[in-house]
Amino acid sequence: MSFQAVVFYVLSLILIVAAFRVVTAKNPVHAALYLVLAFFTASGHWLLLQAEFLAIALVLVYVGAVMVLFLFVVMMLDINIEKLREGFWQNFPLAGTVALVMVAEMLLILSSPEANLAGFQAGPAVAADASNVRELGRQLYTVYLLPFEAAAVVLLVAMVAAIGITMRKRADSKYINPAEQVRVRRNDRVRVVQVQAVKPEVDTASDTNEQQA
């Protein structure tokens, strides 16, 4: 077993345990931290594949930006995760069984002689000084131009959608416009009413009628 293989299995084990804990951790902060761990080990896998740029991007974008933001949100919102996960353990046996069967089947299939995974050879060696970033950029702007543009549009949609969904005037919000407050005049707020000093008669009869109606 080569050194890479040992690293791969160690990283994979950590990844799986971390991913499992993301789902099972009781404390949401712990879950988020386990997710960070999962991302780290995944970027380790990419390093093994010599995709250094992607590995770094994963750590920077997901761990650095996304997860930190996520942690903030989790801490601020004080989500009762126990309530969210009600029934989790109740359904766990079934889910676990399905997952186990799935894994077992996939193992059986992929390890069978028909699958012939051994037949797959490693790709051609890449020169030590080959630049990941350069190659990625070249591919993105030539062959994968269309998907790249499409990805840009997807981000645009995400932006539009985020704004569309969140930017709104809530009906129940207490909203004050200072400019209007400054510009207010007496006549806008006060109305002088002449009130006659006579006690109005109370029409009890019509009241009872209405009640009956």
Binding site: N91, A95, V101, M102, E105
Partner: protein
């Protein structure tokens, strides 16, 4: 006018009248309803007489052509076509003229009935259906007419649909006729299957000789002659419609309908449709002696035993009804003896005198204020002279008094049977001869009870409400009383009632004398009705006598039938005029026989016990097992339950929780994967 339009006019003018009276009767009123229907039938009648005249003097040719193609199924055409030959022409005249008389009579008879327009619509519709039946040139149209007259009959028997007995009677008629139709339809099916794939009469008759020795296997291993099976099946249809034993049970009950209907449908026309059909099919029946024997036996039993029943009836209409059954038996016997022309001759004469008798009975019923029990009558001749004299003429015709129409037709039948060489002819001859006596006896029993003797409606007044009160001709909702009040006297009917009586009396008396020569002895039916004289010589004797009507009439005074009839009349006179205690004594002495007759040989009870109960049991079985269990339980409710349980199951999965949806998806993938990699996984 070409012949096609003429025939169309004959058939359709009653329909037009019927539609107007039926659909717009509420708008045009009673008077207009009867005017328009009578007009329609009158047009038909006049034109029919013209057609018959054309055939008599030879100026009209046989017309056989399609009129309208209804639909084409797999290369087979269902078309409406007319075959008008001498047989049709005769039936046209009989149907339309009797129908016309009945239409007129109805004005008086149904005068007070709230269903006046409906009634006229029905009888005109019946006329149309009957014309379509007789004018058909193919089996499909024949069957259409067959069912249509059955439908109208059903509607008219149950005309007073608020009466349970009427509803029971029409249901009974309907069901019994279904039995006959079942056979008829099977017969038509055999015709279609084997006789050249066509249902046109001419094609079928052309194909028949080649099939004389063809056999079919209905039960595997048993060879049956195709022609025999076909003919018997067709005859089963005729048995239903023409009320032959053992499918006769519906006819007496059909008297629940108004009397004009009994005259028109259940005596003169519809019930003879079976006779007409067998005559039409004479080329087929001639080829099967077995079938002819069956026909003859059925006819003989009906002729004799139904006559016996007439003797014990007290309801005036029922007497005439059993007489009709018996006379239909005579016609059927004639068919069995291959004397089709004689049968048709009897159909014609019978139509007139039986319609006369029925209408006369109806007139009596009206005179008695809707009391039908003969025991409450008597001495009516003083009060209802026209009814009396016409009824007497009708009765004389019925019993076969020489020179009356019934004599010629009945004697011809007896002659034909006497000379028939079929195995059943011995029994048949006995039956028809004995029947003459029985007929004379019950006919004149009725005549004496009604028109002569003491005026019993006075003395019996107190008890006459106890009579078979179900058979009175009126709406139960009508509050006008049954029977005569203490101070009432019977009265003669209005002219619209007596006129048809008079008009019908003329042919009842005379038509036999003039028609026997062309119809039986002559060549009127040549090329239309086919009789194999060598194989079935019965007709020859009748033909021989038919050449000279006068001689035949004179000769009759020395023949057995005449003396039997005379004896019957004399006995009736003795029993009911001279010594009324004797019948009562006989009734006491032979109470067993009387009870047997009273209960119509327990046929109804038998059918009830066996068929009605049996089919109800079968029906209950099918209902319980087939409907409730299989269809309702398994198919309908089962599928509903299946749908329900599927829905429930799906709903159970459709929890609304994302995780269960995801689980279903994952399991779906798992199943697909397992299914496609079975060999790899299960290794």
């Amino acid at each position: 006018m070409d012949m096609k339009s003429l025939y169309l006019l004959i058939a359709l003018s009653p329909l037009v009248g019927s539609v107007i009276a039926g659909l717009f009767g509420w708008a045009i009123g009673r008077r207009a309803a009867h005017v328009v229907t009578i007009l329609g039938v009158a047009v038909s009648a006049v034109l029919s007489i013209g057609v018959l005249k054309g055939f008599l003097d030879g100026s009209t040719q046989v017309f056989n052509a399609p009129v309208y193609t209804w639909l084409t199924v797999g290369g087979f055409e269902f078309s409406v076509g007319f075959l008008v030959d001498s047989l049709t022409a005769m039936m046209l005249v009989v149907v339309t003229s009797v129908s016309l008389m009945v239409h007129i009579y109805t004005i008086g008879y149904m005068h007070e009935d709230p269903g006046y327009q409906r009634f006229f619509s029905y009888i005109s519709l019946f006329t149309f259906s009957m014309l379509m039946l007789v004018m058909s040139n193919n089996f499909i149209q024949l069957f259409f007419g067959w069912e249509a007259v059955g439908l109208v009959s059903y509607l008219l028997i149950g005309f007073w649909f608020k009466r349970p007995t009427a509803i029971f009677a029409n249901l009974k008629a309907f069901l019994v006729n279904r039995v006959g139709d079942f056979g008829f339809l099977l017969g038509i099916g055999l015709v279609l299957a084997y006789f050249g794939g066509s249902l046109n009469y001419s094609d079928v008759f052309a194909a028949a000789p080649a099939l004389a020795s063809k056999t079919i296997q209905i039960i595997p291993g048993v060879e049956w002659s195709l022609l025999t099976v076909t003919c018997i099946l067709l005859f089963i249809g005729a048995m239903g419609k023409s009320a032959q034993f053992p499918l006769h049970v519906w006819l007496p009950d059909s008297m629940e309908g108004p009397t004009p209907i009994s005259a028109l449908i259940h005596a003169a026309t519809m019930v003879t449709a079976g006779i007409f059909m067998v005559s039409r099919m004479s080329p087929l029946f001639e080829m099967s002696d077995t079938a002819l024997n069956v026909v003859m036996v059925a006819g003989s039993i009906t002729a004799l035993f139904m006559g016996f029943l007439g003797v014990v009836q007290n309801d005036i209409k029922r007497v005439v009804a059993y007489s009709t059954l018996s006379q239909l038996g005579y016609m059927t016997v004639a068919l069995g003896a291959s004397a089709y022309s004689v049968a048709m001759f009897h159909v014609m004469t019978h139509a007139f005198f039986k319609a006369l008798l029925f209408l006369g009975a109806g007139s009596v019923i009206m005179g008695m204020h809707h009391d039908q029990d003969m025991r409450n009558m008597g001495g009516l001749r003083k009060y209802m002279p026209i009814t009396w004299i016409t009824s007497l003429l009708g009765s004389l015709a019925l019993i076969g008094t020489p020179f009356f129409s019934g004599f010629y037709s009945k004697d011809s039948i007896i002659l034909a049977v006497e000379h028939s060489n079929l195995a059943a002819s011995g029994f048949a001859y006995f039956a028809v001869i004995a029947g003459v006596f029985v007929t004379a006896f019950y006919s004149f029993r009725m005549y004496f009870l009604v028109f002569h003797g003491k005026e019993r409606w006075m003395e019996n007044h107190g008890s006459h409400h106890a009579h078979e009160g179900d058979h009175d001709d009126e709406e139960p909702s009508d509050d006008h009383h049954h029977g005569l009040g203490p101070n009432d006297k019977p009265h003669e009917s209005p002219w619209v009632v007596t006129l048809p009586l008079a008009l019908l009396a003329i042919p009842s008396v005379l038509i036999g004398f003039f028609a026997i020569h062309p119809l039986v002895g002559g060549e009127f039916f040549n090329g239309v009705i086919f009789t194999n004289l060598e194989a079935h010589p019965g007709l020859e004797a009748a033909m021989h006598h038919a050449h000279d009507a006068m001689a035949m009439g004179l000769h009759a005074f020395v023949t057995l039938p005449f003396w039997l009839a005379a004896a019957g009349v004399a006995l009736a006179w003795f029993f009911y005029m001279k010594a009324p205690h004797i019948p009562a004594a006989i009734k006491q002495k032979f109470s067993g026989v009387h009870t047997l007759l009273e209960n119509k040989y327990y046929m109804d009870e038998l059918y009830f016990a066996v068929f009605a109960k049996g089919s109800r049991a079968l029906g209950t079985f099918f209902w319980k097992v087939g409907d409730m269990l299989l269809i309702d339980g398994l198919l309908v409710n089962g599928s509903a339950r299946l749908v329900g349980s599927v829905s429930r199951a799906v709903r159970k999965l459709q929890t609304g929780f994302i995780y269960s949806y995801a689980a279903v998806m994952i399991i779906g993938v798992l199943v697909l994967m397992t299914y496609w990699f079975k060999p790899l996984i299960l290794r």
